[in-house]
């Protein structure tokens, strides 16, 4: 069972919000004593996802939580937007696939960097991506 120890949220509207957002994530990761490599992976994944949110949905909200499961602590980030949604989420998770002019590694790359990754999307309603990085994961 996952217990939420602390919860915070941040609205992302402009590209200038990305740097402070990353700083907040880092702060949380440092707080639970996450190793530098895991911190870097988490922040990089978060950066990819927040960038997607800005690019495809003109921003959204990120819910940031410190969670605990058994003896392990971790960070859960939930990215919620009300953008156009992703018609084919399986295709969107494929390496090298992009509808923008990016490299197409954002989503699959972010998934590789975290322990749990969940993508839900509905066309016309929006997309929610939830990731978890465990302190010792």
């Amino acid at each position: 069972m996952k217990i939420v120890l602390s919860k915070d949220r941040m609205r992302i509207e402009r590209e200038q919000d990305v740097v402070p957002f990353r700083a907040r994530v880092k702060e949380m990761a440092v707080k639970i004593g996450m190793s530098l490599v895991n911190q870097t992976k988490l922040i990089t994944a978060a950066s990819e996802l927040v960038r997607n949110m800005l690019k495809y949905a003109h921003g959204g909200i990120v819910v940031m939580e410190i969670i605990s499961q058994g003896r392990d602590n971790g960070i859960r980030l939930v990215f919620q937007d009300h953008g156009p949604g992703i018609p084919d989420t399986q295709l969107a998770m494929k390496d090298g696939y992009s509808t923008g002019k990016s490299l197409g590694i954002g989503l699959p790359g972010a998934k590789r960097l975290v322990n749990e990754f969940d993508l839900k999307s509905k066309v016309g309603e929006g997309t929610t991506v939830s990731i978890i990085k465990w302190k010792n994961g």
Binding site: V18, T40, L113
Partner: protein, 131 residues
């Protein structure tokens, strides 16, 4: 507008990224650098990223672009000082830094550039341009 300073040293351009870049700053750096390479006829570009705590796919693409564009303008690019955690993350993310050379630190990067572009010939470089 904020800009990352570009230093000229002989036929080399040096950039030290000291802060976490937001996108506009990174794209400005890309265009400033390429224009500087053309204007100063630089043969090498050295970018120190030791202060960067993360490199995501956007920043990776900017670095790759700088490398490829400089290459077309006949200049080599070396990225130096990448933190080990950043290197680990880049590979897992699936990003190869194509088009740029890498070196451990500034000193090794300068050495690499010197090998790639040969000795600095700043004093007689304009001899062959007819007036």
């Amino acid at each position: 507008m904020d800009r990352i300073p570009i230093l000229r040293m002989g036929n080399l351009l040096l950039v030290t990224i000291q802060i976490d870049l937001y996108d506009r700053l990174a794209t400005n750096l890309e265009s400033d650098l390429v224009q500087m390479v053309s204007k100063t006829q630089a043969k090498g570009v050295l970018i120190d990223i030791s202060a960067l705590s993360i490199v995501d796919s956007f920043m990776g693409r900017i670095l790759g672009n700088i490398g490829s564009m400089s290459k077309i303008l006949d200049a080599e690019t070396v990225v130096v000082g990448m933190q080990p955690a950043v290197a680990i993350t880049l590979i897992e993310l699936g990003l190869e830094l194509k088009g740029v050379h890498t070196a451990l630190n500034v000193e090794k990067g300068m050495e690499l550039l010197r090998i790639k572009i040969g000795p600095d010939e700043e004093t007689d470089s304009d001899e062959d341009s007819p007036e």
